[in-house]
Symmetry: C2
Subunit: 201 residues, 2 copies
Amino acid sequence: MQQDLKSELTKQVIIDEAFRLFHENGFKTTSIDKIMIATKLTKGAFYHHYKSKKELGLEVISSKLQSRVHQAMIEPLGELGDVFNVLENTFLHRIKTFSLYDKQHGCPMNNLINEIGDFEIAYQFALKNIIESWKLALIKLIESGKKEGVIHEYISSSAVAVFLISAFEGIRGIRKLYDDDLILDEYISGLALYLKQLKKV
Amino acid sequence: MQQDLKSELTKQVIIDEAFRLFHENGFKTTSIDKIMIATKLTKGAFYHHYKSKKELGLEVISSKLQSRVHQAMIEPLGELGDVFNVLENTFLHRIKTFSLYDKQHGCPMNNLINEIGDFEIAYQFALKNIIESWKLALIKLIESGKKEGVIHEYISSSAVAVFLISAFEGIRGIRKLYDDDLILDEYISGLALYLKQLKKV
DNA sequence: CACAAAACATACTAGTTAGTATCTTTTTTA
DNA sequence: TAAAAAAGATACTAACTAGTATGTTTTGTG
């Protein structure tokens, strides 16, 4: 195989397995050894492509994690149509479609935020970046809702954005403790109520 | 010193230091060695009182963590006075009074939920218990607000309870990423808005 | 095709981990 | 006060950790 292609492929396999293991078992308890066993490669290969576990962690956050949040939570905000439909689709309906795996292991980003958000400035910064772009995309959507005349102008867009994100990340942690979806249904009712009051009659 | 008193005292010192280190550095990366160095005792003392790290973890959750949540988030819900004042005091004003330490390291319970909520059934269960009693206390308060005629009857009390808890835990994680309180202020505005719409005019 | 460089493998290091075995010290009790 | 039991200290084990040193294999290039 071509060398640069092979290199990229190997790095991608390492990132994918690292992401999966971080999600399933946490960052700190996932060792380079475990990751490399999962990739069926060896430690030599790892340290040829990455200089440290920290470098891999940052790569997982800034590439894998960021793109996932973009795809799942940010891009759908740009869809055409009613602002409330868009919000309901991303924050409310979507949570119902999660696989059992995703419900049991929570939000990969939220897990990292709570496990290593206060551990290293570099992680803190990389994770904050994702939250900030999510927040900005939400603010943009809410502002457009105000212009369209469907959302009250007196409402703070950033406050709504932060509150929505907080509740979403919060429930994804709490859901891990339960073995059914009742708690999710309650979150959904609570959110539906919240969205309703943003709406101009 | 009296033997049973000495034993209780030692166990309490271990629990206190363990809780502090779990909060500052996480559960999995806090070793028995580190805890016992902090207590100025030795490993022999630890394994005389506890049979494993898991047993200590469960003890920290069911005694220390539970009592903290009770004291800070559940008992204040029983205070006399306006339901909305009580909710604002626990979910809104209180967050402003947090120390820098508490802002930087987040909610000890939420940290554990996200780090080990999917790690061991025993931890899952112990943490769920705390959330459940918090939720029940909130439901009780909201129901009483309905009876007093200050909260709309059509609103689901459990939905509001879960949504409030989710947002609170969510923001305590996200706050860790920032080095100022702007994001907290936005959460507070978002929450104030949410509480307002529960209110019967 | 020879040689260089990249990709990967093997074998190690020093430090850390949960837990155990066995010791000494302190407290209780007969 | 002597024996017993609890509290605590010391010294270990085997497994695991991030990272390194040095080997072999694969790929690119003159």
